[in-house]
Symmetry: C2
Subunit: 85 residues, 2 copies
């Protein structure tokens, strides 16, 4: 692996945890009124596309990162739909 591949892995790791603080905040406050449901829908679409891409390309970093984000964005969708405000 070249040094730039480590940069890519770092980017993938950071991408995986991007929505973690939002999921925690939504869970703690039970308040999701300011969250856009369209952002969540598009996030699920984009992450599913990358997951499919990673599976076809046999790229484990893309698969793992996007599987994590898919799980977190489905959780965010669930919060958005269950918490009334």
């Amino acid at each position: 692996m070249q040094w730039i591949d480590y940069v890519g892995l770092f980017g993938a790791a950071l991408s995986s945890v991007t929505v973690v603080p939002q999921v925690i905040k939504a869970w703690q406050t039970k308040s999701v009124g300011d969250l856009s449901i369209w952002m969540v829908f598009i996030l699920i679409g984009n992450v599913s596309t990358w997951l499919f891409y990673g599976i076809v390309k046999h790229d484990i970093a893309i698969i793992v990162a996007n599987a994590i984000i898919l799980f977190l964005s489905l959780l965010m969708l669930y919060f958005k739909l269950s918490f009334k405000k």
Copy 2:
């Protein structure tokens, strides 16, 4: 280009517009209280990393997608800091 590369381009295009609905919603409602500022910070970090990765790898799709997301996430940070609630 193989068919899977078009899937990657579609994923990149979808990634670019993911935060658009959130930026529009924040702008319209002037309400960002439920948004996690840590999500925005990590998003800026992850997108900057990918932008750097794209520049080093001369990958125009990665550069364009992440330049757009970087601009939108900086806008989101500005909204989060200017709108009080």
